[in-house]
């Protein structure tokens, strides 16, 4: 978005010169004069008092949280001493790269920046209410695992990790890279909603006793999962899950010890289920699309959403 212009790359001397060239009054701040600017549109600004700097931090955090990326919020630290650490109080991290750089080293640089920002924040020890990462080019498994680990420790709210592939939306299952795999760490933190588009195999480790106790909404897009693993995670470790979306997900089911082959979710809390997935049963592919608004009844508190192989 801002790759073509580099306005912030100005050095300090150039900055001072530019400031002097504009209506920038260092020694004689202009008098507060409301009537002077009454008929100007807000965008016109300039010429008046500094109204923004005196706003309380809480309000500045709301303003900075509306900026599209965390980098843009962090750049406000150079405005003046007052602004030095304001951005660090914004409880949200957003990294969006809408275009992928041509060279792989430039891609690495972009990913390094995300890691640098996250590790800078990890040092503060505070929690984040929202983490959003959108990267439209290949990300190595180790990085994805690191981001998920950060989320599992620091996040108190919403996680959105979108690493889409360039696959065709209609025949997406034909070019799966099964080698890529990432484990979804169970949480020490309080993640309430999780949207993962990771374009790889998602594993839900069953050895840990931890759970997604606060998870209310889960959306998995582009990836494959083991039906048994996902089923047991959703049934046993997500006690407050209300909304589940599986979109372009390959659910692989293997014969279980009991002879069953179902991908089965039992949930007391689920209210909305949207599935647009492929269920693979012993090599047979079965496409499954549907939306199930579930309703609660007093007598039927245990519900079973099953896609059988019949």
């Amino acid at each position: 978005m801002w790759a073509s212009r580099k306005p912030w790359a100005l050095d300090a001397a150039a900055a001072a010169a530019a400031a002097a060239a504009h209506r920038y009054h260092r020694s004689t701040p202009p008098a507060v004069c409301g009537s002077m600017v009454t008929h100007q549109q807000a965008d016109a600004g300039g010429g008046g008092a500094d109204r923004i700097t005196d706003l309380p931090d809480d309000v500045l955090h709301i303003i900075l949280a509306h900026l599209p990326t965390t980098a843009e919020a962090a750049r406000t630290s150079v405005l003046s001493r007052r602004w030095r650490r304001v951005w660090t109080g914004v409880p949200a991290f957003s990294f969006r790269y809408d275009e992928s750089p041509s060279s792989s080293s430039a891609q690495e640089d972009q990913l390094d920046r995300i890691d640098a920002a996250l590790s800078g924040h990890a040092a503060t020890g505070t929690t984040v209410e929202r983490l959003e990462i959108f990267v439209p080019f290949g990300v190595p498994d180790a990085r994805v695992a690191r981001w998920l680990r950060f989320a599992s420790r620091r996040l108190n709210g919403e996680l959105r990790l979108v690493l889409p592939s360039k696959k065709s939306k209609t025949r997406w299952w034909e070019s799966w890279d099964e080698a890529k795999e990432v484990a979804i760490p169970l949480c020490e933190s309080v993640i309430t909603s999780m949207s993962l588009c990771l374009d790889r195999t998602l594993r839900f480790p069953s050895h840990s006793a931890a759970a997604f106790t606060a998870l209310v909404a889960l959306e998995l897009t582009e990836g494959d999962v083991d039906g048994g693993e996902l089923g047991s995670t959703l049934s046993c470790r997500c006690p407050h899950l209300k909304k589940l979306t599986l979109d372009r997900i390959m659910v692989v089911t293997l014969p279980t010890e009991g002879g069953g082959r179902d991908f089965c979710i039992r949930s007391d809390s689920l209210e909305q289920l949207k599935i647009s997935a492929i269920i693979s049963l012993d090599g047979m592919l079965q496409s499954c699309t549907g939306m199930v608004p579930t309703t609660r009844t007093a007598t039927d508190s245990k519900r079973k959403h099953a896609i059988s192989d019949a």
Binding site: M1, Q41, D43, G45, A116
Partner: protein
């Protein structure tokens, strides 16, 4: 409580005398009186809701010494417009959605409402919304301010908001190095 959906601008509202019990009268720092629907005031402002519930509303005009008449008129106007607008799906959607933005985008009428404000009037309204605990109005006005910052260089932002740069050249360089990830230029 019945709310008169037909009410329009602040001026009209002030003329409606018979709806006494359904409205509250607010007094600006410069002594001007404004009437606003009690229901809208209680719904949109946590501070007014507390005052209404606590019985500390003055029939002759509740003093809001921190808010000037222009800002208070905008507040009342916003409350009335809000009462008349049909909330879109974006506004009433529950907290379990996956939004790309941390806040709900402003409605078209909210956008127009803040776009017509002067620089000072916008900041007066931010302060009033913050003072009155009007979360949505604060959000909409802050969104407008963030749009005035978006995509601009620090110099351009300083110019728009008249921010005085009190850093030394060395300090600026230090920050740029510390936050190199934010000041990339590829």
């Amino acid at each position: 409580m019945e709310v008169d959906k037909g009410k329009g601008e602040a001026e009209e509202t002030r003329k409606v005398a018979e709806a006494d019990r359904d409205t509250v009268t607010l007094k600006s720092s410069d002594g001007k009186l404004f009437e606003v629907s009690k229901e809208a005031a209680a719904r949109l402002s946590t501070v007014l809701a507390g005052m209404i519930a606590g019985g500390s509303i003055d029939d002759n005009g509740t003093d809001l010494k921190q808010i000037g008449s222009e800002a208070l008129e905008n507040v009342v106007d916003y409350c009335n417009k809000h009462a008349n607008s049909i909330p879109s799906a974006a506004l009433i959607s529950s907290s379990i959605s996956f939004n790309t933005a941390p806040f709900k985008e402003p409605e078209e009428w909210e956008r127009k409402f803040v776009d017509r404000l002067s620089h000072d009037a916008l900041f007066d309204l931010v302060e009033a919304a913050n003072f009155l605990g009007m979360e949505r109005l604060l959000d909409v006005t802050c969104h407008k301010i963030s749009e005035m910052m978006k995509g601009k260089s620090p110099d351009q932002i300083r110019e728009v908001f008249n921010i005085k740069n009190d850093y030394t050249k060395e300090e600026l360089e230090e920050i740029r190095q510390e936050l190199a990830w934010a000041f990339y230029d590829d």
